[in-house]
Amino acid sequence: MSYQLTIEPLGETIEVEEGQRVLDACLRAGIWLPYACHHGLCGTCKVQVLDGELEHTADASSFALMDIERSEGKCLACASVLLSDCVIEADIDPEPDAENHAVRDFTARVSRIEVLTPTIKAIFLEAPGGLAFQAGQYLNVDVPGFGDARAFSLASNPRHCHELELNVRHVAGGIATTYLCEQLRVGDAVRCSGPFGRFFIRHSAPEPLLFLAGGSGLSSPKSMILELLERGDERAVMLVYGARCRSELYYAELFETLAAHHAHFTYVPVLSEPATDDAWTGEIGWVHEVAARLFNGRFDGHKAYLCGPPAMIEACVRTLMQGRLFERDIYMEKFLTAADAAQGLARSPLFRRL
């Protein structure tokens, strides 16, 4: 038995399991609510119940949530469970640019598979009736014999959504990526759900856009840039993309062609370890270093979109922040493998999204 929970002012609706705490359900669904102690003592996660019934767990402190607040329909998200479908209002910023596409479960058919690099394949899926999504969002793909669904960012232009593109890097020994890269054939059926995620372009913000991407994290920037250029956006857009060597650099021709046709789009490929026979004359180093050099170490007045492995993201966030661009102007979707999560440093409440 599960309930529907709608979170205002986002207007997002998520599933909450019976007995699951509201805060946990929101955080698991990718909806960030302010919180601190996580066990009913501090009151940081207080939300207003607009509709429906919920119940507090025993650890909800009567000091953190006063009787008058209870009678006004306030609740502590970290110490409450749903008794019916509910609508809550949380203290979070609405996103005017979010399209909030409904999540669908569907079976797609593999229409094409292309080799992008020795380790990355593009898998094209045909979804019956297409799929409405926002550039930057991801799909959950069921992998037979693999417990949890795996998330892959959509690389295709959302304006052409009958064919969905996923870029999958084969992780040696990884069950899911081995299945997708080695076993999957054209014509196979794939169970998917989506779109998910809140990584999308803030079209309403006037600032020029800087995309910093690395490894197989090119999917979202590709989708976003294709859409941006197609809708005739005139703002300056730069993509700095890092790969190890020439053979791992993919979609270079696509972005070179786009840059040639759009004066306001700049493409900067960066190799960290070019092979001797790469005859590489472009940038060498790490994405964050090249970006710092191109921007003279100053990034204020931009919007930055980051996509790539955690170490790259962290290096880029540091470079951007020391170049005076802060949390409110930096957007990202983190790609976390189980190993990344296990190694992750404990985080402080200093940052909400980064």
């Binding site: 000091f63 953190a64 200093l350 940052f351 980064l354």
Partner: protein, 509 residues
């Protein structure tokens, strides 16, 4: 399409807009004379995000209900003679020290926040500080009320204000806050809201409130709960202040780094008193100082500074010294309190056998090699009827005002003393951290009112000896000061328990 809902932030902005108008009768710099001289550059106060958007009406409602609950519990505690259920009367020393040393700080915090709540030209920061000023006044008041019941039954509680003005050891917390209040508004909020209430707050509150719960002190435990929901607002203010200032201008980064270095070290030195309470004054132990430091600083603090490093802020200077010292400082402090208790407003004692074992367990060889022998020697002297008391005033650090009982980080057999010559005067410090703070602001710290010097100069009612000084403190041995086992508190405790000594035999609650 339906009109999208306003977020709570937007609603609050609409309600409070216009509170920070540009003045016209007088220039803004004259209306807000203090928020520029520190060199902190604010380009846009609108980027301040109110961490807690609270209206005055809601604030009164919440706090009134909290106080009703707190006072109901305090009443029932006192009507049921709750003091009889304490683990042991030795526990009272922790609460005496709190009332004498920390409660006045709550009041200082009230004054400090009321001051900066007027001085920032950004309305968001002003309102947050004004709300906190009210919280702090309530905390001072409710602490006094929570402890007032003990004044009927134990010594050491009836003259906390008098002691705050006169007692040498209380210049440690007092000088900490006077330093903060004497600083610019940005340094004040960095020191109190960030360094103290955010970085170090768990080290203060956790042992205090848990310690109270472990030792049967329901009154103080309930006060702790009623304050904790305010503390989350204060901590969030601390985070917002630091983020806001760091993001406003790159020139602010080195200034904030200096504030963080300074106030980490000052806060850490102040917490030596709290660590000593955890390890020595709580008959039932919660956790050791070394364990608390490991969790709340080495884990949580490191995570915070890893995040802060994105702004170009590094770990506070001398944090590695603090971590190395965690095995030593509480034993050193208790040795001083044990021997200096005739000139204080509380009682001290030697750790009981179960406590010696607990300390050995928590501090291993460090305790067994350096401190157990000292306490055992003190024990032999007690048995021989010759309890050791210090009869001289200690050398006190010019910055933190803690008696210099600290030792060199890598040599616990050598006292750590630093000196600095400034304008023909020699100043003494307990550590490089405290010396650096002086060197950065000599004009401020050369004025510090150092108790031993002042006593010897005749500024303690003319007292020249420790007994004369104790008389000026109005702390006679037995009722107020001296050894616990010769105290009125202990005699009364035995009487109330039919002559039975209730000293626990184990550290566990």
């Amino acid at each position: 399409m339906a009109q999208p809902k306003l977020s709570l932030k937007e609603k609050y902005q609409l309600m409070t807009r216009g509170l920070d108008w540009e003045t016209t009768y007088q220039p803004m710099d004259k209306v807000f004379p203090y928020d520029k001289y520190e060199g902190i550059k604010i380009k846009n106060w609108d980027k301040w995000e109110d961490p807690f958007r609270l209206t005055m009406e809601a604030y009164w409602k919440y706090q009134a209900e909290k106080e009703r609950k707190l006072y109901a519990i305090l009443d029932s505690f006192s009507q049921n003679n709750g003091q009889l259920n304490l683990s042991d009367a030795r526990y009272m020393t922790a609460i005496k020290l709190w009332l004498q040393g920390i409660t006045p700080l709550e009041y200082y915090a009230h004054r400090g926040f009321a001051h900066v709540g007027r001085q920032f030209r950004g309305a968001g920061a002003r309102v947050a500080c004004q709300m906190q000023a009210l919280d702090e006044l309530r905390h001072a008041q409710t602490q006094m009320h929570a402890f007032s019941h003990y004044n009927k039954h134990f010594g050491g509680f009836h003259q906390a204000n008098h002691l705050r003005d006169r007692a040498w050891y209380l210049s440690i917390p007092k000088s900490f806050f006077e330093d903060a209040m004497g600083a610019g508004p940005f340094e004040f909020v960095t020191s109190i809201s960030f360094a103290f209430e955010y970085v170090l707050t768990n080290l203060l509150f956790m042992p205090f409130v848990s310690g109270a719960a472990y030792n049967g002190d329901i009154a103080t435990t309930t006060f702790g709960f009623s304050a904790q929901s305010d503390e989350s607002r204060h901590m969030t203010l601390g985070i917002e202040v630091v983020k806001f200032v760091l993001e406003q201008h790159e020139d602010n980064v080195p200034i904030m780094q200096r504030y963080i270095d300074k106030w980490f070290w000052r806060g850490y030195r102040l917490l030596a008193l709290v660590g000593t309470m955890m390890d020595y004054m709580l008959p039932r132990k919660v956790m050791s100082w070394a364990e608390a430091w490991g969790i709340y600083w080495e884990e949580n603090g490191f995570a915070l500074f890893n995040d802060l490093s994105r702004y170009g802020i590094r770990m506070p200077k001398y944090h590695e010294v603090a971590t190395k010292e965690k095995m030593h400082i509480t034993h050193q402090a208790w040795s001083v309190f044990y021997t200096a208790c005739p000139a204080t407003g509380f009682h001290t004692w030697l750790p009981q056998p179960y406590e010696m074992d607990w300390l050995s367990d928590k501090y291993g060889e460090t305790f067994d090699r350096f401190y157990r022998p000292r306490f055992e020697l003190f024990g032999q002297m007690e048995k021989a009827g010759n309890r050791f008391f210090t009869n001289r005033l200690p050398l006190v650090c010019q910055t933190c005002q803690v008696p210099d009982f600290f030792t060199e980080v890598d040599n616990p057999m050598k006292q750590s003393v630093r000196h600095y010559q400034w304008k023909g005067m020699k100043f003494n410090f307990c550590s490089d951290g405290c010396k650096d703070i002086f060197v950065n602001e000599p004009e401020k710290f050369c004025q510090a009112y150092i108790p031993p010097q002042q006593i010897y100069q005749g500024n303690a009612g003319g007292a020249r000896t420790l007994p004369e000084y104790a008389a000026w403190l109005r702390c006679p041995m037995g009722s107020e000061a001296g050894d616990y086992y010769s105290s009125d508190d202990y005699q009364n405790w035995l009487k109330w328990h039919g002559g039975k000594d209730t000293t626990p035999s184990t550290a566990a609650a």
